[in-house]
């Protein structure tokens, strides 16, 4: 399938587009100007985005327009309203929001403003992961440039629409990418996700109505408002509309962040854009959308990259972060790392997640280091089934369980062989270095 049209990275690819003058010359703030000048009501913005079929790009894929309608009617519920933008991007393999913030911060700020306009929020807080200093600084500078031009703040462009946009920083915790963990952190607390209900639209930041949207999601809104929902819906597939930023990393020749329309096959992405598998090797396994989805086999590379197709293939789109694993790689090693990640990132509230993520990590580590036990593989499966679905406050427990179950399903023989042999035949000798305090 050939590439239809690109819009997401067009301005981002222009030198100096993070500066207002260059950005505006290349279309930034046109949609905002139009909406405010023509007095397009917030409800129309919501309708357009709904009709466009835009789905969240942060991993969950929920209809953006529909999510916006969950906010209460301010006539009946006059509490302060907030937009929280999730720029915590920490899903393994994912490095796309960073590109937007670094290279097209004005396009991003415009998206934030339009989203805030749609939900009638008076302030937007952009929660960017603490490690992303350059993206943070670029967006912050863009906000200041925009403010100076009456594009942010009170009575934007002379309209009734006032909206403050604030930068906020995380502290390196993946769980703060979970929308309620994000809100807790923004409020200055430990990033413990909240049980739902209540949902953020009714009880969000400081208990007030809040919508949480991903960076790439809001980034799409100005394009939709400029060119119309019909245009947006013409891109992509039946239930996955528009273009998306696809990260591809791991054992490929040209890892990178690329823009595609939904409907492209993973094979085309790998071979036509990422230069194919490196070192002439074969594809053994891959994650289509970050590490919180099911692994796929090499033979699944023919799958179309969109929500429905991946679901039908037993996985999910997630953050569209493809992680490619060659046929010289140990799956025990892969799962040692993946399981260690969730153990590290669990907030610790829920019994299944706190103990389960550690337990899975301990088992995979033993298997990968030749210390597996006969019942390990069966235990992995039983534990993962106890951790999901929907048994915990948030989905991190599920995110640990899902790849585990897929690894056991697809690579059971390999894992069992590691146990039987008491060695990982595919293990790569690791370099030696001293470790302080007996850490692993």
């Amino acid at each position: 399938m050939s590439q239809t049209e690109r819009y997401l990275l067009t301005r981002a690819n222009i030198e100096g587009a993070h500066q207002l003058a260059v950005a505006e010359k290349n279309g930034a703030y046109e949609a905002l100007r139009k909406v405010l000048k023509e007095g397009i009501p917030y409800s129309t913005v919501i309708d357009e985005v709904k009709k466009s079929g835009l789905r969240g790009r942060g991993g969950a894929g929920f209809s953006t327009g529909m999510k916006w309608t969950f906010m209460p009617d301010p006539a009946k519920d006059p509490r302060p309203r907030y937009l929280a933008v999730n720029a915590d991007e920490s899903e393994p393999g994912t490095c796309k929001d960073r590109v937007i913030m670094q290279r097209d911060p004005h396009g991003f700020v415009e998206g934030v403003l339009l989203a805030a306009y749609a939900i009638r929020a008076q302030a937007a807080y952009i929660y960017v992961r603490g490690e992303y200093r350059l993206p943070h600084d670029r967006v912050k500078a863009a906000i200041e440039e925009a403010r100076a031009k009456n594009l942010v703040g009170k009575n934007i462009l002379g309209s009734d629409f006032s909206c403050e946009v604030y930068m906020h920083r995380g502290g390196g915790a993946y769980i703060c990418g979970e929308e309620t963990g994000l809100m807790e952190s923004l409020e200055g607390k430990r990033g413990h996700p909240r049980p739902k209900p209540p949902f953020p639209a009714m009880f969000g930041l400081w208990g007030q109505p809040t919508t949480v949207n991903n960076v790439e999601t809001v980034f799409n809104v100005p394009f939709i408002m400029n060119r119309g929902s019909a245009w947006f819906a013409s891109l992509g597939t039946a239930n996955s509309k528009g273009n998306f930023l696809c990260g591809i990393s791991g054992h490929v020749n040209k890892p990178g962040v690329y823009e595609f329309s939904f409907g492209i096959t993973a094979k085309e992405i790998l071979e036509q854009h990422a230069g194919g598998m490196w070192k002439g090797r074969g594809l053994k396994a891959w994650f289509p959308g970050g590490s919180s989805c099911s692994l796929l086999k090499g033979s699944d590379i023919d799958v179309v990259l969109d929500h429905d197709s991946l679901r039908a293939r037993g996985s999910s789109l997630g953050t569209a972060a493809m992680i490619m694993i060659d046929d010289h790689t140990s799956m025990a090693r892969v799962m040692e790392i993946i399981s260690r990640f969730y153990d590290h990132e669990s907030c610790g509230q829920c019994s299944q997640c706190r103990e389960g993520t550690q337990w899975l990590s301990q088992i995979f580590r033993r298997i990968a280091h030749g210390k597996g036990k006969a019942d390990d593989v069966a235990t992995l499966e039983a534990l993962a089934k106890g951790m999901a679905p929907g048994k915990t406050i948030c989905a991190l427990s599920d995110a640990a369980a899902i790849p585990t179950l897929s690894a056991v399903r697809l690579f059971k023989d390999e894992l069992i062989e590691c146990v039987t042999r008491q060695a990982d035949p595919l293990a790569v000798p690791q370099p030696h270095y001293a470790v302080a305090g007996g850490h692993h």
Partner: protein, 461 residues
Amino acid sequence: MVKIIVNGREVEADPKKPLIKACHDNGADVPMYCYHPGLEPVGSCRICQVEVKQGDAPARVMVACRTQPAEGMVVDTESPKAHATRKECLEFLLKNHPLDCPICDKAGECDLQDFTYAEGQDAGRTNEPRRELDKRKSLGDTIVLDQERCILCSRCVRFFEEVPKQAQLTVSDLGSRSVIATFMDRPLKGKYQGNIADLCPVGALTLKKFRFQARVWNLVKMASTCGECSRGCSTTVEVLRGADVKRMRPRENEAVNKFWMCDIGRFSFDRHNRSGRLQGAAVREGVQLVPYPVEEALTRLRDELMREKSGAWILSPWLTIEEGERIKAVAERLGHAVCFVSPAPNSEKDDLLHTGDPCPNRRGLSELGIPAAPVAQALEALRGVKSAVLIGERIVELLGAGELAKVDATKTRVHLVDEYALDIPCVLSVYGVANCVERTGTWVRSRPSRHRRWARARLPS
């Protein structure tokens, strides 16, 4: 209130309280760790799983502490799915939990033991290395923390935030490295620390005073009331083999103390275990107090008091209203003065429980018409009569042994009814008395106004 169905039975539930409360109030057992009726529900332990059907939606298993009852809700606390999810949850909790039962104070009243016995599996699946943490972390004079036993329910953290309303504990670090901690290992402060040992569902937080003191199944427990201030928190007094009081714990009383008591009351049981209790009676013969048959001693005392016009009966505010009433009648018949010692308020008054009035029955005795006499006044009354009867536990402590020693034995004859003898010249007879864990009776609380009858925890020594 809404109508819901719990295990096939229609019951009324408060939609503003968690579903788990409606279950518990209606005899449906639902296990819990992080949930406590005295704290805001957080839904983190994930053990209180019940199956809920609302309207046309398919039945789902969910945590009862974060579910609000709604009209027409159908709840099954015994569904196979609910049990299966609880069983899984328990397996996760036991993964790191040390096999400390043989040496753990909590054994016998441990929610992890109890719910595992009820719902868990009977054998561990594997032998993964458990966390190695501080098993004897002193949190000050009162509490010791075993971090390995902790199941991170966070009740202790939330207690300090929500009840005395000053944070003292936190969960530090995160995930499988989470531990309960104070700031810089500073000791806990304040007089509500003991409550976290009650709250802790396992043996992670234990009282230093109770450590290794008794197996809880050997304790006989009696409902009682604390006497250390006029709040009169409902308590349970726990006695080991009819001898020492090993523990006092709060008993739930929504109107008075909810689920809590202060450490002043909690640890007051020490005094009930002192030796040297006065048994029976003793009468002064010459320079000594010698044991004397009680009946005869009382007969002699009665004769003296009936002859003597100048008499005063000075009562301890630990006396019950039953006792006060009878004594007042006797004093009036004899034409003697009667009063009770009114201790001065102390500095322990706080916004939570302690009233600062360090005696239990001021109000009860006052309502009987017995005048309250501050210590100085009571001593003056004593010095002004020829026969004085001091009655009740702690009467000597209140008046002061030193002050009593100064009383002119040639002017006043003192007869003492207390836990311990006091051998000073003015004391002519002494009678041993049962204290407030050894007899039954009624005190009247200062507020809210409720009488409280308490039962005998043990036989008098």
